[in-house]
C-alpha cells in the first residue's frame, strides 16, 4: 500500500506541481548533473540545460548550469580540446548574462579562463590569468559574500608556487573564509547554485 501511495503521490506531485514545468525540468537537469559519470553524460546534461535556457529566455539559471556542465566536460575528458570547450562555455555564459550579470556567472568566467590557461600556462598566464583575476574581482563587486569566490581563488593559489604569491598558507585562509561563508550561505532558491562546500573542505584538507 505504501508503494502505491508513493507512486500516486509522485504522480500527483508530477502533474500538479508541474504548475511549473520549468522547475521540474531544472530539477531533472540537476539530477542529471549529479548523476553524470562521464563527459558524455555531462554533455547531455549541458545540452538539456541549454534547451531549457533557449525556451526560457528570461532565466539565467539554465544557461548557468549549461555552461557549468559544459565546463566540467573539459576536465572530465582528458582529451577534450579545452579551447573549444571554453568557447562554448563562454557562449553560454554570455547568454545568461543577457538576463543578468551576477557573482555566480563571474565565478564561472574565472573557471573557464583558468581552464584555458592550463592549456599552456607558461605563455597564457598573462592573458587568461588576468582574465581569471578580473572575473573574480567582478564577482566580489557583485556579491562579496559568495563563498565560491574564495574557493576558486584558493584553488588557483594552491597550485601557484609560493614565490608567485600562492602556496598552502595563502590558500588555507581562503578555504577557511569560504567554509565560514558556506555556514551562513543560503541559495536564493533550491535551483540556485549551492555547490562548493565539499570542495572547500577538500581544499582546506589539501592546505594542511
Amino acid at each position: 500500500m505504501k508503494q502505491v501511495l508513493v507512486i500516486i503521490s509522485m504522480f500527483i506531485a508530477g502533474m500538479v506541481a508541474a504548475q511549473s514545468k520549468y522547475e521540474t525540468a531544472m530539477g531533472r537537469g540537476l539530477e542529471q548533473l549529479q548523476a553524470a559519470k562521464t563527459a558524455e553524460d555531462m554533455t547531455t546534461a549541458s545540452a538539456f540545460f541549454e534547451r531549457v535556457g533557449d525556451a526560457e529566455k528570461d532565466k539565467w539559471l539554465p544557461y548557468y548550469y549549461a555552461a557549468y556542465c559544459n565546463h566540467l566536460t573539459g576536465w572530465m575528458n582528458p582529451k577534450a580540446d579545452k579551447d573549444k570547450v571554453a568557447e562554448k562555455s563562454k557562449d553560454l555564459i554570455a547568454k545568461a548574462e543577457l538576463v543578468e550579470r551576477n557573482s555566480e556567472l563571474y565565478c564561472l568566467r574565472q573557471m573557464v579562463a583558468v581552464q584555458q590557461m592550463t592549456v599552456d600556462a607558461m605563455s597564457r598566464y598573462q592573458t587568461y590569468g588576468a582574465e581569471a583575476n578580473n572575473a573574480l574581482e567582478n564577482a566580489k563587486k557583485a556579491d562579496a559574500s559568495n563563498p565560491r569566490i574564495y574557493l576558486l581563488q584558493g584553488q588557483t593559489l594552491l597550485r601557484t608556487p609560493e614565490a608567485f604569491g600562492g602556496g598552502k598558507a595563502v590558500s588555507k585562509k581562503l578555504a577557511e573564509k569560504s567554509i565560514e561563508l558556506f555556514k551562513t550561505f543560503k541559495p536564493a532558491s533550491p535551483l540556485h547554485p549551492s555547490w562548493g562546500k565539499d570542495e572547500a573542505d577538500k581544499l582546506l584538507e589539501a592546505c594542511q
Binding site: 500500500m1 508503494q3 502505491v4 507512486i7 500516486i8 504522480f11 514545468k21 525540468a25 558524455e40 554533455t43 547531455t44 545540452a47 538539456f48 541549454e50 534547451r51 531549457v52 533557449d54 525556451a55 580540446d81 579545452k82 579551447d83 573549444k84 568557447e87 562554448k88 557562449d91 583558468v114 590557461m117 592550463t118 592549456v119 599552456d120 600556462a121 607558461m122 605563455s123 597564457r124 598566464y125 598573462q126 592573458t127 590569468g129 588576468a130 588557483t156 597550485r159 601557484t160 608556487p161 614565490a163 608567485f164 604569491g165
Partner: protein, 734 residues
C-alpha cells in the same frame, strides 16, 4: 498488492509513452563526416538530445503538430527544419556547415613566423620566449636567429635571411620602418638591437612573401607590434655589474591611459677588468638610454600610443694593424640616436578600421680610425695602404615617416586594406673632407585583400607602388598568397611576390644613377599546429635581379638566386615542463654583386644551419634553465684583387664550422616587497672556436675574424614593485 502496483505503473507509463513521439536521425558536417556532440531540439520546448559518437540522436517529445527542429554545434551554423509531429517516429538527417570565423579560418602563413597571442594558431614566439632563450641576452634579433631562415652571422649586426644581406631585412614598429634598429656598427663586432622585448606584444618574422603593407626589404621583414595598456602600474629597477636602470609605469585608475619612463646606464669597465677582451679598449663602451611612453584608449575602442627613446653611446678600441704588427688601428665611435613613434588605431564603425603611424628618428655618428704606434701616438707611415685607413667621419641620418592604412571588412571575415606612406630621409655625411648629402622623398601606395573563399581556402592579393625622388624611378610590386586547410590544424600555403629596395646609401653617395634592386619570392609551406606543438616545413626559391655592382661600374647589373628548404618543430607537450624547438635551414645561394667577378656564394651564407632551443622551468626551485645550441657549416671567404679590368679571386676558402652553446638561468624570488628575477647567462659555454671570416693584409696574408672574447657572461638582478613580472614565467602546473 503487487498487482495493483504493476497496474498503476502500467497505466501511468503508457499514458506517458502514448503522449510522446520519438525523433531520431543523424547529424553530419558539410564534408559528410559524422558529427558528435551536436545539440538537437524542438524549438521552444525542453525536448531534445545530443548526437552521439556515431552521429545519431534519439529523443522523445510531447510536442505535436508543426514544430521547428534546431540543430546546433559550436563553430557551425545552426540549422532549422520544420516538421510535422504526429504519432509515428520521425527520422531526420542534418548537415551543418562550418561557420567562417577568424580563429578557425585558415591563415596565410607562407614565409612568416608570427609570435604573440594575436592568433593562437600561428603563435611561435612570445616576448617571454625572447627573454628566456639561452645565450640570447634578451636581444630580439638573437632569438629570431634561432628560427629557420636566418644565418648565424657574428661579425656584424642584422638578420641575414635566405641568402640576403643584413640590410635586406627591415624592422617595423607599429607599421612604420625603423631606420637604425641596432646600435652603430663597430668593425667585426655585431651590435645589439635597440629595443627591449617587453615593449612588444607580438613579433612577426617574415622570411619572404610578406604583405604589400611593407616594402623596401628584399629578403625579410621583422614586424613588431607594441603593447597596449599594461595590466598594472609598476616601478622597476635593474642592477648588474655592467648596468643600472630604473623605470616607472603608471596606469590610470580607469585603465584607459598610462604613461611610463625609464633610464638605463651601461658601462663595461668593471666587466672588461675581469673578463679579458682581445681588443684594447681605450674608451670602454658606455651607454645612456632613456625612454618614455604614453598610451590612451579612445572611446570607440581605439588606442593612441607614443614611444620615444633617446640613447647615446661612446666607445674606442685598438687592434693590431694587419699590415704592420708594430702599429695599431684605433677606432672610436660616438653615437646619438633619438627615435619617436606615434600611432593611432581606431574603429571607424561600419566595418572600417584605421591605423595611422608617424615616426621620426635622427641618428648621429662621430667615427674615427687612426693609425697609432706602440705609444698610442698617431703616426703616418708613408705607405698608402696603411695611411688610407685613417679617417674621420660624421654622419647624420634622419627619417620622418607617415603611414595610413584603412581596413574595410567585407562579407564574412574578408577584409580589404589600402593606404599609403610617405618617407622623407635626410642623410648627411662628412668623410675626411668629403661632404655628401642625400635627400629622398619616398612615396608608396598599397592595397591588399584577405579573401576567405571558404573556411578552408583563403587568399591574400596585394599590390604596392613606390616612387623615390632620389632615384627618380617608380616600381610596382604584386604580392599573392594562398592557403588551404588540409585537416585538423594542418594547412598548405603558397606565396609569390616581388620586392624592391633602394641601394644602400654607401653606394648612393657615389652616384644616384641607380635603379631599385629586385627580388622575386616563390614559397610553398606546410604547417601543422596544435595548442602545444608546431611543425612546419617550407621550401623557397628567390631570384635576385638588378643588384648593385661597384665594379667595373656603379650600376644595377648584379644578379643572383637563393633556394632552400627549412624545418621547424616546437613541442611543449612530449616532455613535461620542457619546451623546446628545433630549426634547420638548407640554403643554396649565389650572387654577383659589388666587386664579385661572377656569381658566387656570398660570405654571409652557410649551407646548413640548425638550432636546438630548450627551456625548462623547475617550479620547486623557482628557476628556469635555458639552453640554445646552434650549428652552422662554414661560410666562404674571398680575397678579391683587382687585376686589370677585373677583380680576381686571389684566395678563397671556407671557415670552420660554427658551434655555440648558450645558457641562461632565471631565478625568481620575493625580495621584500619587490618581485625579483636574477638572471645569469653565458654565451659559448663550450668555448668553441668561432671564426666568422678573414681579413686580408696588403701582402695577402689573412687573419681570422672572431669574437672580442670567447664568451660573454652576464649576471643581473631585476626588481619590480607593483606588478608581478615573474608571473610571466609562472609554472606549468596551474
Amino acid at each position: 498488492m503487487k498487482k495493483l502496483t504493476i497496474l498503476l505503473l502500467t497505466v501511468l507509463t503508457t499514458g506517458w509513452v502514448n503522449a510522446q513521439v520519438r525523433l531520431t536521425g543523424k547529424v553530419r558536417d558539410n564534408r559528410n563526416h559524422i558529427m558528435a556532440g551536436a545539440s538537437v531540439q524542438v524549438k521552444g520546448s525542453y525536448d531534445g538530445g545530443v548526437s552521439d559518437s556515431t552521429g545519431h540522436f534519439s529523443f522523445k517529445t510531447f510536442e505535436k503538430g508543426e514544430q521547428t527542429i534546431v540543430v546546433s554545434n559550436v563553430g557551425y551554423k545552426s540549422v532549422e527544419q520544420k516538421i510535422a509531429i504526429g504519432v509515428d517516429t520521425v527520422e531526420m538527417l542534418f548537415n551543418l556547415k562550418e561557420e567562417v570565423n577568424e580563429l578557425k579560418a585558415v591563415t596565410v602563413t607562407a614565409g612568416s613566423f608570427e609570435a604573440g597571442d594575436k592568433k593562437r594558431a600561428a603563435t611561435v614566439l612570445s616576448s617571454l620566449d625572447v627573454v628566456t632563450t639561452g645565450g640570447a641576452n634578451a636581444d630580439i634579433s638573437a632569438v629570431v636567429k634561432t628560427l629557420p631562415g636566418a644565418q648565424q652571422v657574428g661579425e656584424q649586426e642584422g638578420l641575414f635571411v635566405r641568402g640576403g644581406a643584413g640590410y635586406e631585412t627591415k624592422q617595423f614598429i607599429d607599421g612604420t620602418m625603423v631606420n637604425n634598429p641596432y646600435f652603430s656598427s663597430v668593425p667585426d663586432l655585431a651590435q645589439r638591437g635597440r629595443f627591449s622585448p617587453f615593449l612588444f606584444k607580438g613579433t612577426v618574422f617574415s622570411t619572404g612573401g610578406y604583405s604589400a603593407l611593407y616594402g623596401q626589404a628584399l629578403s625579410s621583414a621583422l614586424i613588431l607590434e607594441s603593447i597596449d595598456i599594461p595590466d598594472r602600474s609598476e616601478a622597476s629597477a635593474s642592477f648588474s655589474p655592467i648596468f643600472v636602470g630604473g623605470g616607472l609605469q603608471e596606469i590610470a585608475k580607469d585603465k584607459k591611459s598610462s604613461w611610463g619612463v625609464r633610464y638605463d646606464y651601461t658601462n663595461l669597465a668593471a666587466y672588461f677588468a675581469i673578463v679579458k677582451q682581445t681588443p684594447d679598449y681605450f674608451k670602454v663602451p658606455e651607454f645612456h638610454a632613456a625612454d618614455a611612453n604614453f598610451r590612451i584608449k579612445t572611446k570607440s575602442g581605439g588606442i593612441i600610443k607614443y614611444y620615444t627613446t633617446f640613447a647615446t653611446n661612446h666607445l674606442g678600441l685598438r687592434r693590431p694593424n694587419i699590415d704592420d704588427a708594430t702599429l695599431k688601428n684605433a677606432f672610436a665611435l660616438k653615437n646619438t640616436n633619438w627615435y619617436n613613434n606615434l600611432s593611432w588605431r581606431e574603429n571607424l564603425g561600419h566595418g572600417w578600421k584605421m591605423n595611422l603611424g608617424l615616426s621620426y628618428s635622427t641618428d648621429h655618428n662621430d667615427i674615427s680610425n687612426h693609425i697609432q704606434n706602440q705609444n698610442n701616438a698617431q703616426v703616418s707611415t708613408g705607405l698608402v695602404w696603411i695611411d688610407s685607413t685613417n679617417f674621420t667621419a660624421t654622419t647624420r641620418a634622419d627619417l620622418s615617416q607617415f603611414k595610413a592604412v584603412f581596413d574595410k571588412r567585407l562579407s564574412g571575415i574578408s577584409v580589404i586594406r589600402f593606404g599609403g606612406e610617405y618617407m622623407y630621409s635626410y642623410n648627411k655625411g662628412l668623410y675626411n673632407t668629403y661632404n655628401s648629402l642625400l635627400k629622398d622623398h619616398f612615396k608608396a601606395l598599397f592595397s591588399e585583400a584577405d579573401l576567405y573563399i571558404t573556411n578552408d581556402l583563403a587568399g591574400k592579393v596585394g599590390v604596392r607602388v613606390e616612387q623615390s625622388s632620389l632615384l627618380n624611378k617608380a616600381n610596382i610590386a604584386p604580392r599573392l598568397s594562398l592557403a588551404y586547410k588540409t585537416g585538423q590544424g594542418g594547412q598548405m600555403s603558397i606565396a609569390y611576390g616581388t620586392f624592391y629596395q633602394k641601394p644602400e646609401n654607401t653606394y648612393l653617395y657615389a652616384t644616384t644613377n641607380f635603379g631599385y634592386t629586385k627580388a622575386t619570392h616563390y614559397i610553398i609551406n606546410y604547417i601543422k599546429n596544435t595548442a602545444l606543438q608546431t611543425f612546419r616545413v617550407e621550401a623557397f626559391y628567390k631570384k635576385y635581379q638588378d643588384l648593385v655592382k661597384t665594379y667595373p661600374a656603379y650600376n644595377n647589373d648584379g644578379s643572383g638566386y637563393a633556394k632552400g628548404i627549412e624545418l621547424y618543430w616546437r613541442d611543449k607537450k612530449s616532455i613535461k615542463n620542457l619546451d623546446y624547438w628545433i630549426s634547420y635551414s638548407y640554403l643554396d645561394t649565389k650572387r654577383d654583386y659589388l666587386n664579385y667577378p661572377a656569381q658566387m656564394q656570398p660570405n654571409f651564407a652557410a649551407d646548413h644551419t640548425a638550432s636546438l632551443v630548450m627551456k625548462r622551468f623547475v617550479t620547486q626551485w623557482n628557476t628556469g634553465f635555458n639552453f640554445t645550441y646552434t650549428y652552422a657549416t662554414g661560410r666562404p671567404y674571398y680575397l678579391l684583387v683587382k687585376n686589370g679590368a677585373k677583380y680576381n679571386i686571389a684566395d678563397q676558402g671556407k671557415t670552420i664550422d660554427y658551434n655555440t652553446l648558450g645558457f641562461s638561468l632565471n631565478y625568481l624570488q620575493n625580495m621584500g616587497k619587490a618581485y625579483g628575477v636574477i638572471v645569469f647567462s653565458m654565451t659559448n659555454v663550450l668555448n668553441s672556436n668561432q671564426v666568422f671570416g678573414y681579413n686580408y693584409g696588403h701582402d695577402g696574408h689573412k687573419e681570422a675574424i672572431t669574437t672580442a672574447a670567447p664568451r660573454f657572461i652576464f649576471l643581473g638582478l631585476f626588481l619590480s614593485w607593483g606588478v608581478d613580472r615573474r608571473q610571466d614565467a609562472i609554472n606549468n602546473n596551474l
